[in-house]
């Protein structure tokens, strides 16, 4: 355990063991009073002894930055939400909720196991960074979550809807029992007692629980629209009026039970829909869960740096970017020599040399040595974000199918109102006001807007939820529909169809000792070819010769002198590059060994391509690599040569994608960004999630293309379920209205029929189709 760990000293001047609360001497710096406690503690946590949490070096001091706290904390900046990676059981709950015991300044930590989000409340003296560091020490990596007002509001709103639901439930339950007494023949003074009691009980249902319906109906009417809540409100109003009149006139035709049950059932479907949606949305909102990009900013002109959140960087700030890190902002290199991989923007996988004065862009990767950069533009103003912003707006639009269903809903609602009025006059004509009201009421109640209001969005949310569970993040409702229209599928080769790493296919040694020399040289470089060599020769040699004067030219190769001979590794025109990449080892200019690399296919690529072809889709490859490897891969996959294009720059890839309609682009979120953004629909299988989710409409955390066929099946089946619901709704409503018009439908029976139809539509949506269920076991 860390030596410099501080644990609060109790009044008794001793410390209390984290595990068993017995007190032990303050001098000892361990977190536990004894070895036993420490072992049991970790056993209890189900992590086993060997996985003692390695201290996470991540620098969390940015959490205390006043600006950051301002935007992330609530409750007068004393409470913040953290997404804890790795919480999974009761012991995690117990462990994390003991935070206040050994991290003074923390008032309480409340963990929600389902979402993995912990609420941390501090005293005035507390610090979020300290709390986060303690949590990290326990082994759970904390990510601050942008709580903002929306979550707080959403929680208040959820509670309000739950209370409205509870009130409607309790009251409709009791009103229904009073109604049963009346149907069963209660008479005289008691019948009056029951009628008036049910009226009094109905008032809160009408004026409190049914308010959401009134609000949304009023809002839509004000905008000259007719939302699906309008017939509900119409039914409620008519029903209440009729019942009150009958109540005062002493007749038995009172419908408080039907109306209250109607409100209760509609509220419960709305509550259910909200919960299902929230669950589905949560998983696709992962992006903003992840920590914002961080940068190390120099404080003034000193050489010390502080970790700061990216959106706090201002122009002319100096930041340090280490090798392997991504440039968070656009800027100019001030100090340091290195190489930058700008494949994301330019599509060139070759490295670009960087020296003081060269401009660098956000999203590009620093390869070799640390650089110091002066900030030119940050946040939304960087070139990358500007491109992505344009792409993102297109993704935000509502799914056409939902818009279409809404339009049908509009027409449907207007028709219902007309029919209700018609029903009133027929009833009036046939026997009188009473019958007229009864028929109008029956029509208003029997009509079921559930398909438009509930089933279509629910079907889509459920599918998004199902995909999310399988680790596939579908970004929006419209994406599913576009996926269902896909005709052709283009794959990026490296990293998507193939494993993406260069593998040594074979090595010819012309003179002995060449292998040791090659390994000695390549061991020092991080270039993909070097890594392939290291993997190939791993563990072959006990000793490696000494190398002096080692130099690495980015994009060219490496060289060094071993025992006086000059060895060089570079590609050589004599070796043909057509089929696969070949590299030669030269000793003082003479070739002593040649090594060929090839890219290996993933095992699931073949089966997935066959499945797609079986589904009648055209399959093609778009790759920046040379023609040879591309032909080799498309041959293995059985793709016609005409459909696979090679040596394409990202812009050219985008052109090809744009050219053919209804295409699905599957590729690497980082370097196929532009093509992914342009395609009709796109799946990012590689690259950072945050970057991919910005450009692609779907991000799959499963590597390889295994999930593509299942995703397309999901999309097609979801659309089939929506169409099936629409047909059911039309038939149900036509029959319902016809019977109601003829007067043979009693409002109570209508009040039972309508929720039943809502339930059927709901169950049919939940069940989906057999194919859908098989695709997503």
């Amino acid at each position: 355990m860390e030596s410099a760990l501080r644990i609060p000293v109790l009044e008794t001047g001793r410390k209390s063991c984290l595990h068993c609360q017995t007190e032990y001497s303050a001098q000892s710096n361990s977190l536990f009073c004894c070895k036993g406690c420490e072992t049991v503690h970790f056993l209890l946590k189900g992590r086993g002894l060997d996985q003692k949490p390695k201290a996470i070096q991540e620098d969390l001091s940015y959490l205390d930055d006043s600006e950051f706290v301002q935007s992330y904390a609530t409750h007068e900046s004393r409470e913040m939400l953290f997404y804890l990676e790795g919480v999974h059981c009761a012991a995690c709950v117990w462990l994390t909720e003991k935070l206040p015991d050994f991290c003074p300044g923390v008032e309480f930590l409340q963990l929600n196991l389902a979402s993995g989000v912990a609420r941390v409340r501090l005293y005035e003296s507390g610090s979020f960074a300290q709390a986060a560091r303690e949590i990290a020490r326990l082994g759970y990596r904390p990510f601050p979550v942008k709580q903002g007002q929306s979550d707080e509001l959403r929680k208040k709103e959820d509670r309000k809807l739950l209370i409205q639901l509870g009130v409607a439930g309790m009251l409709s339950g009791n009103i229904m029992l009073l109604a049963v007494a009346l149907y069963a023949g209660a008479s005289g003074a008691l019948a009056e007692l029951f009628k008036w009691s049910s009226f009094i009980l109905f008032l809160p249902v009408l004026f409190y629980s049914a308010v959401p319906f009134f609000k949304s109906a009023w809002a839509s009417l004000r905008v000259k629209q007719v939302s699906i809540d309008v017939p509900i409100v119409f039914g409620l109003a008519v029903g209440t009026a009729v019942s009150i009149v009958n109540l005062f006139m002493g007749s038995d035709q009172i419908y408080f039970d039907s109306l209250s049950t109607l409100v209760f059932l509609l509220l419960s479907t709305r509550y259910l829909l909200k919960k299902v949606n929230q669950h589905a949305l949560n998983s696709s909102e992962w992006a903003h869960f992840l920590a914002p990009a961080k940068a190390k900013r120099f404080i003034g002109h000193s050489s010390k740096t502080e970790t700061v959140s990216v959106n706090l960087l201002r122009p002319n700030d100096l930041i340090q970017v280490l090798p392997g890190e991504c440039f968070p902002v656009d800027g100019v290199v001030v100090q340091g020599e290195g190489a930058v991989n700008c494949s994301l923007l330019t599509g060139e996988s070759a490295l670009v040399a960087a020296s003081p004065g060269t401009a660098v862009n956000a999203g590009t990767w620093n390869q070799h040595s640390p650089l110091i950069v002066r900030v030119v533009a940050s946040g939304p103003k960087t070139r990358l974000n500007r491109i992505l912003a344009s792409v993102e707006s297109s993704l935000r639009s509502r799914a056409p199918i939902v818009a279409y269903v809404d339009r049908v809903g509009q027409a449907f609602v207007v028709a219902v109102l007309a029919l209700a009025v018609l029903g009133f006059f027929i009833g009036l004509f046939v026997s009188g006001v009473q019958e007229g009201f009864q028929r109008a009421l029956a029509i208003a109640i029997v009509v079921c807007p559930c398909t438009f209001a509930l089933a279509t969005p629910l079907a889509i949310s459920l599918s998004i939820g199902r995909a999310a569970k399988a680790g596939i993040l579908v970004k929006g409702a419209d994406v599913l529909e576009r996926l269902s229209q896909v005709r052709t599928v283009f794959f990026d080769k490296t990293g998507t169809l193939t494993v993406g790493e260069l593998r040594v296919s074979h090595w010819d040694q012309f003179s002995d000792g060449a292998a040791e020399a090659l390994m000695a040289l390549e061991i020092r470089s991080a270039h993909p070819i070097a890594r392939a060599v290291q993997r190939y020769f791993q563990g072959r040699f006990e000793w490696l010769p000494e190398v002096e004067d080692f130099r690495e030219q980015p994009g060219k190769g490496v060289s060094g002198t071993i025992r006086g001979d000059r060895f060089e590794v570079r590609s050589h025109p004599s070796l043909d590059q057509t089929v696969s990449t070949r590299v030669g080892l030269f000793k003082n200019g003479v070739i002593v060994g040649a090594m060929t690399f090839s890219d290996v296919l993933r095992e699931d690529s073949k089966s997935s391509v066959d499945q797609l072809k079986a589904m009648g889709l055209h399959v093609g490859i778009l790759s920046g690599d040379a023609g040879g490897p591309v032909q080799d891969v498309s041959g293995q996959l059985g793709i016609q040569p005409g459909n696979s294009f090679s040596a394409l720059s990202p812009e050219q890839k985008a052109e090809v994608v744009k050219g053919s309609p209804f295409t699905l682009m599957v590729g690497d979120g980082a370097n196929d960004a532009v093509a992914l953004a342009q395609a009709h629909a796109s799946v990012a299988v590689q690259g950072g999630m945050e970057m991919s989710l910005r450009v692609a409409s779907v991000y799959s955390s499963q590597s390889g293309v295994r999930s593509i066929p299942a995703l397309l099946v999901l999309a097609q089946e979801t659309l089939r379920v929506i169409r099936r619901n629409l047909v059911f709704a039309v038939v149900y409503n036509l029959v319902g209205i016809a019977v109601a018009l003829s007067g043979r439908l009693d409002p109570l029976f209508a009040a039972v029929l309508m929720p039943l139809s809502a339930l059927t539509v709901f169950l049919s949506t939940m069940a989906g189709t057999g194919k859908l269920r098989r695709a997503f076991r």
């Binding site: 000293v9 209390s16 409340q110 003296s125 439930g169 309790m170 029992l177 007494a181 209660a186």
Partner: protein, 714 residues
Amino acid sequence: MSETSVARKETYSYDDDIVKMFLIATLVFGAVALLLGVFIALQLANWKLNLGLQWTTFGRLRPLHTNAAIFAFAGNGIFAGIYYSSQRLLRTRMYSDLLSRIHFWGWQAIIAAAAITLPLGLTVGKEYAELEWPIAWVINIVWVIFGFNFFKTLQIRRERHMYVAIWFYIGTIVTVALLHVLNTIQIPVSFWKSYPVYSGVQDALVQWWYGHNAVAFVLTTPFLGLMYYFLPKAADKPVYSYRLSIVHFWSLVFIYIWAGPHHLLYTALPDWAQTLGMVFSVMLIAPSWGGMINGLLTLRGAWDRVRQEPVLKFFVAGLTFYGMATFEGPLLSIKSVSALGHYTDWIIGHVHGGALGWNGFLIFAMTYWLVPKLWKTELFSVRMANAHFWIGFLGTVLYMVSMWVAGITQGLMWRAVDASGRLVYPDFVETVIKIVPLYWVRALGGTLYLFGFVLLLINVVKTVRSAPKSEKRETVSGLGLADSKPEVYAGKPHRMLEGLPGVFTVLSLVAVLVGTFFELAPTFLSGEFAPTVVGLKPYTGLQLHGRDIYVREGCYTCHSQMIRPLVWETKRYGDYSRAEESIYDRPFQWGSKRTGPDLARVGSKYPDLWHYRHMMDPREVAPGSIMPAYPWLFKGKTDFEIISKKLSVMKSLGVPYSDADVENAEADARREAQAIADKLISEGADPKTAEKEIIPLISYLQRLGQDYKKGAIK
């Protein structure tokens, strides 16, 4: 933030002594209840076991058995569970140890009082509410003390979220308070005798509104609470669906209070009330089975351990019996099924399926899990516990099956009508003799269950004796909630009462006040509630005193006074009973079991001498009868002095006695008694019969059902 900032931690310890006390009381009174059960079961199988003594006769011991089983055994059991689980769920010690002790000793005092008064015949005569008014009031007070202590503990809790078990306990405390108060509103005649305010059909509805909800809120909701705490702890698995447990709690409590009428199907209750009762009861399957399914599915992944561990076996069997009983109940609430099952032993099978299977097994599971934890040692013998399970299981099944067979056999025999429309079994005793063997099987089942219980006692005693004597108090540390009030009131301008706990304390007090108000103003209230029927004469003083003897001897435990409007019943007993006939009956004696025939129209069906000899020795006039003899009615002197006080109390309750009736009540009664006695003495009865208690009883029995015959009521 300085290194030495002191962590704001409070250390406290749970009050486990109160849990031990209640647990021991549970085991002691469990033994009492089961012994009584076996004893009275044997009495039914062989009447000689009534021993001819008034204190050991079935009529007086059956109420003692039911009160012991429900309030002493199950009552103490839920208190032990509530005290243990609430403190851990709320992460705080009980608000006041003193109040806990007062609750404990008060409750045991009530049980002791019942154990004394019931065998002496001091009873109100309403099922499961037999305890006379002084004890009833002690129950109210002790219950409110328990409620107050519980709600104050809620207020100072350290765990913000209230686990579902806590909600079940809250439901129990509040509803039982209200139920008990409303059903025990009685006007005292003397220290040990009182008349309920309601009469006839009103009393019937309030009684069974209380009767069913006592079953619901004493034998179901607290046990569901215990299940939701102890089952996850024993199985070390989270409950299957916490959301379902919340939904089924609220759906239970919001509308539960309508139950009751299904005990009165085909009686003089208005038809619509019966239909309402039926609809409501069938609807009850949903919340009940919600609980069972949630419990059983909690064991997913731990089913292999059910083979070795007795605790899980008891839980699984208990939950299954709960599912069975709560399916059988709604089934019995359907009118056509009730026509067959009502008044027969089938009902007893249903009751004991729930009591032995669900309540018993859950208490055993809790005990086997709790004793090792409380006394910090291993259970003495797991094999013995497993043996207890199998013996107890067999006993329960034998009990239920024998009662099903007996009930359905008797039900079918009662209704058997031959082609010409005459009853196939006109003589009631035939239907009794037929099922006596099944009473033996039931007694065997009960004995097995008792034997299993004895194994539990041995196991617990041995475990406790082997416990280490270490007195180190087990301390726990926890953080006091910054504001013990839920944050909803933190910023609220109008400060509500201290949140939920405060509110419920008030609610219970309101319930008690409502009760006292009704208690103090009977005349105003009862007058309006007791409609008088023109021409119907109330009981004479002697008959009223005879009725009280009927109530004292617990005749209602075997006889009903309610002829149902069914063909075979009107053929056997005469025209069906009207509600008006029992408007002066305080308490109503419609009864719920026909071990003996219905007595609603027994008046003047047999001569006085028949009754005289029948009460002396039933087998003399009805060979084969299993009714016990009542020799003490021929020794005890009638207390004529109290009769006028009884009439004045009845008058204050709205019964149309004139002042003259009250004035010379004693003289009238003595004259009437003498008239009956003279006739009996002429036929060879003991010369001093006039002053014996048999006379008022005969005068009451001969009056039963007479009002209808004389055309007083259409």
